[in-house]
Symmetry: C2
Subunit: 305 residues, 2 copies
């Protein structure tokens, strides 16, 4: 049976390869997505997710994550979670119950502790130094800086889809700020009957359009995955520009129930994809009018994370 | 010019009357909705919103609120906010910026304090006694108990729409649990070009369907407000029952850009409506097959909050 995987940003490459091994072995989309996101969360080199994430304006790393199971439509999320490397695991655990599917702040920390998750210091020396530098510069929050959410959509050989996200959010955000990543329908959405989606970019721009839900909905109506993702990002970008003169960065990945993928973006955006017919590969997507131009990543000309 | 207002539950009656005065006076939908929700948040008799709200399992009142402006599509929300009576004001303030539109936990408390909002004890003697009783009973969380969000949609004489929500959430929830009320697209959504919506019921059931967004979207596609709200709730209820054997309580109110209202519900549900042609009135909506039967509230036969 076909399996397929798509993930935001180049940093997902190693994780996707781990997920791919599980999918080939007929493991579930859930197992693959958690394993793949763990690899990103653990990696000290990536400053927008988990360990070594860039902190908020008070110097504290607060993470957001979301998880949705396309078979059951059970969804879970955590916001402003502190000291837990695998925020996506907490989101997954939240998705299991009938109630309390979204937990934030101290309550999310408590829940993670009740699951036996170790409390750790996520702020590395390098991230802290970047924080001190930024404080010295005393610049306002910029629209595209250190908010690269890892988002993934996975189809397993059993025909089930899962979407998940994990991020340390916007660098220098206010304490308690959550972006789109833990918001069901904005940062992620998944439905076996329609498809799955996940978003990255400026959460505040994504959430007011419920862009992941809208992308999945368009696939349900019969649009191809590529058409759904690119039309959603293109239309929302146009609308925001008409409304307020600009649109912050938005990138969306999606997959339909057949494992076909789609990408929408209003910036230069890298993603990783693999399926039963193609090896893991990094691609670059570029908006061009109402279209998205896609090509393989080339380290000689691309400097994307 | 026409103005119109719809609000969840009987408890909204006094607040709606206050909002109506402002709308008649050509004040904005934002002013009307905040004034109206304040009245519910302040009222000690209502245990599901603001002051005297029922606490979480640790005996702490944590409130959620959302606000969305249909003209600008700016949205704001707070989750697990403590000690602030007018949670909806904090959500509104969050909606103003380019970033940090959703704040949770300690960060939300800090932001409210930075706005000069007084920190107060929201837990009343009566709410605390109900908490102690419930703890003694040692019962599991039930599906429909003390989670009556106040949600409102308002059209002003300038032709602008606003949606907003405020709630203390599910009685005996886990610390940090947020329901649909502060989730854009789930608990509330608003777009001058399409309409506005707000939800009440079990947040966990509402959020995985993005039901407020979907209702607004259907109005944009040309459905009447009543058709949009009732079809969304009916279809989601059917889907949840097919998926897991039951569907928790969901009620939705909405309004199109002409001020026409709609109500969808899978339980007996009371709401308050008023517009430039009709006085403030409490109505009762009942699901009957795929339809919603609506009649005026009658205190002799109805015992709804």
């Amino acid at each position: 049976m076909k399996w397929s995987m798509i993930a935001t940003w180049k940093m997902s490459y190693d994780g996707v390869n781990k997920g791919v091994c599980l999918l080939k072995d007929k493991k579930s989309a859930k197992d693959a997505v958690l394993e793949a996101i763990h690899a990103v969360e653990e990696n000290e080199a990536f400053h927008s997710v988990g360990y070594s994430g860039l902190p908020n304006e008070q110097g504290v790393v607060q993470c957001d994550a979301g998880f949705m199971d396309g078979k059951t439509l059970q969804a879970g999320a955590v916001g402003a979670l502190e000291g837990v490397i695998h925020a996506v695991d907490v989101a997954y655990e939240c998705s299991k119950g009938r109630f309390n599917n979204v937990l934030v702040g101290e309550g999310a920390n408590e829940f993670a502790a009740s699951l036996g998750m170790k409390k750790e210091n996520l702020l590395t020396k390098e991230s802290y130094e970047r924080y001190l530098e930024r404080k010295k510069e005393n610049q306002p929050l910029s629209s595209y800086d250190g908010h690269d959410t890892v988002g993934m959509v996975v189809l397993d050989q059993q025909g089930h889809l899962v979407s998940a996200t994990s991020t340390s959010g916007l660098f220098m955000k206010k304490r308690g700020r959550v972006g789109d990543s833990p918001l069901i329908g904005s940062g992620f959405y998944c439905d076996d009957e329609a498809g799955g989606a996940a978003a990255t970019g400026v959460g505040e721009e994504i959430m007011r359009g419920c862009l992941s839900y809208e992308t999945v909905r368009r696939m349900k109506e019969g649009m191809s995955a590529q058409e759904a993702a690119s039309s959603v990002v293109f239309e929302w970008t146009e609308r925001m520009i008409a409304k307020k003169g600009y649109c912050d960065a938005i990138s969306l990945i999606c997959m339909n129930p057949s494992g076909e993928i789609g990408v929408g973006t209003n910036i230069k955006f890298a993603y990783v994809a693999a399926d039963s017919d193609s090896n893991t590969e990094i691609y670059v997507a570029l908006p061009k009018g109402k279209e998205v131009v896609i090509r393989k990543y080339d380290s000689k000309i691309d400097d994307l994370d």
